[in-house]
């Protein structure tokens, strides 16, 4: 007969924090969805869930490698965060290469008149009939933060699950599942496109926090029970 002890509670809390980090982190990732693939909207030309998951899972690979040699939670979580940031930044840089050299458009944000970080004017560089294109500085910095939070969240979930069962493959797969659930919830909240933290849609975060909290709490409890905790 299993018992519900304090360590189980800590694992559930870690999973919930990880899920919330993922849910909030997705709001930072600048994605323009299908329009961005035609240089019609600011951001990376792919879906929110796709890019966030791609970067988060790259971080998971780094975190998994780190966890095989150490138990230090800070090292593991930061390792995942850095891996995700590298993936996100390289993707945004190469995306900008394609926009600048392949399509011939400068990176520009459409939701603000002046870039909040560099104070550069934006509207003169928006090509007619579009709502911006490419990844300007403010979106790039926002994307980096998104990568950090997504990578850290995914790694924290993996860390909690690994402490319960010690089987890396199973933990990784559950972590991927919990990651994607939160990414999808956040993606519904921003309706497919967001430019970064300067976008008005970013203010919808409290709603996502509530939804992600409930979803991750339920999944977290089941994940811990399935994995042999309690």
């Amino acid at each position: 007969m299993s018992t519900f002890d304090a360590s189980t509670l800590i694992y559930v809390i870690q999973i919930v924090i990880g899920g919330l980090l993922v849910g909030i982190g997705v709001h930072f990732v600048p994605v323009g969805g299908a329009p961005a693939a035609m240089a019609q909207a600011t951001g990376v030309g792919t879906g929110t869930v796709q890019l966030a998951t791609g970067s988060g899972l790259t971080g998971l690979i780094s975190a998994g490698l780190m966890m095989s040699v150490t138990d230090n939670i800070l090292l593991i979580v930061l390792s995942g965060a850095v891996g995700a940031m590298i993936m996100m930044d390289v993707t945004m840089i190469v995306g900008n290469w394609v926009y600048i050299y392949g399509v011939g458009v400068p990176p520009v944000a459409a939701k603000v008149d002046y870039d909040p970080i560099t104070k550069d004017p934006q509207p003169p560089y928006i090509s007619p009939g579009t709502v911006g294109h490419g990844v300007p500085t403010v979106s790039f910095v926002s994307g980096t933060i998104g990568g950090l939070m997504g990578g850290a969240g995914g790694s924290l979930i993996y860390y909690a699950l690994m402490n319960i069962n010690g089987v890396s493959g199973l933990s990784a797969f559950f972590a991927i599942g919990i990651f994607v659930v939160n990414a999808v919830i956040a993606s519904y909240n921003i309706q497919g496109t967001i430019e970064g933290f300067h976008d008005p849609k970013f203010k919808r975060i409290p709603r996502a926090v509530k939804a992600c909290f409930i979803a991750t709490l339920i999944i977290g409890i089941f994940a811990v029970l399935i994995h042999g905790g309690a």
Partner: protein, 303 residues
């Protein structure tokens, strides 16, 4: 750090570069991912075409499927029960993934074009015959490279000992690769190649949606023409992106042993991130200076 680890890391970077390029070209020949929205729209706004039209799913899930499938087959063949050589196991695994890709591509093309019969969009059997094999060939290369990278990271007789099993790590790299291909190379296909009749240097005006180029230099444009064009820029830079990610991410933990120098590995990663942020700013400033504001712009905010 030893020479073997560094050599393996270089091999992983090279394999990732090839995988990235072939993944992007596979999606360009098949017109998967986001630019597919325009191909789908084209017939509806009166432009019937001979472009291959498959949107099996977003690129990350489909590539994760192919990579995981190839890795599962490869690990079964490599297991003690069959004891096949790793190289041939991965080759057979990639073949199975390519066959799955072919089945999904064909049903996707036929289903999508059949549903557009009311817009006079035909199903071209010659397109199906010539393009499906091209798509499968690219998918084979992608799956082979991704599983080989995963194998290098997990094989017990090699220095890098990643704890994830081979199929899980191949799945993960498959998701990442699909996300990169969808984010970078596809923009070259969607924003430039599909709309080449409009002047270079502007995004697609929303009013022109669906007006894709359907005629080629001679005859009608096919998706293999599109892959020819994207192979000049979109494909290689996608390869460079995935190669850089696989290389930089593993380089940190190769030069610094994660067991004893974990903080150095993280510090190096943070430094790389800072440098990339600075580089993006340089890119932005240079591009705005080179291209200048749009002449049609009428607004109060001055440059």
């Amino acid at each position: 750090m030893d020479m073997v680890s560094m050599g393996l890391l270089a091999a992983m970077g090279a394999l990732a570069t090839i995988a990235g390029a072939s993944e992007d070209l596979e999606s360009d020949v098949g017109s998967q991912s986001n630019p597919n929205s325009q191909v789908q729209l084209a017939a509806q706004v009166g432009h019937t075409h001979r472009i291959y039209n498959k949107a099996i799913s977003g690129e990350p899930p489909s590539n994760a499927l192919y990579a995981a499938l190839a890795a599962v087959v490869a690990s079964v063949l490599m297991s003690d029960a069959y004891g096949m050589n790793a190289f041939f196991s991965i080759a057979v695994g990639a073949l199975v993934a390519a066959i799955f890709n072919g089945i999904l591509s064909m049903t996707s093309y036929m289903g999508r074009n059949a549903s557009q019969a009311r817009f006079n969009q035909y199903i071209y059997l010659d397109v199906l015959r010539s393009h499906t094999t091209t798509i499968m060939a690219h998918a084979y290369i992608t799956a082979f490279c991704v599983v080989t990278i995963s194998y290098i990271m997990t094989a017990t007789w090699l220095p890098i000992q990643h704890p994830f099993p081979l199929p899980v790590i191949a799945f993960t790299w498959g998701i990442a690769l699909g996300a990169i291909g969808s984010s970078t190379g596809d923009v070259h296909y969607g924003a430039e190649r599909e709309f080449q009749q409009y002047p270079f240097g502007a995004g697609l005006n929303a009013a022109n949606s669906g007006d894709i180029v359907t005629k080629a230099e001679a005859g009608l444009r096919s998706s293999i023409d599109n892959a020819w064009f994207c192979a000049k820029f979109g494909g290689p830079v996608t390869g460079l992106a995935f190669g850089l990610i696989v290389f930089l991410d593993n380089w940190r933990t190769t030069i610094f042993d994660p067991a004893t120098q974990g903080w150095y590995a993280i510090g190096t990663g943070v430094l790389i991130v800072v440098l990339l942020n600075v580089y993006n700013r340089i890119l932005e400033v240079r591009s705005k200076k080179r291209y200048g504001p749009y002449p049609e712009y009428v607004g109060d905010i001055k440059v």
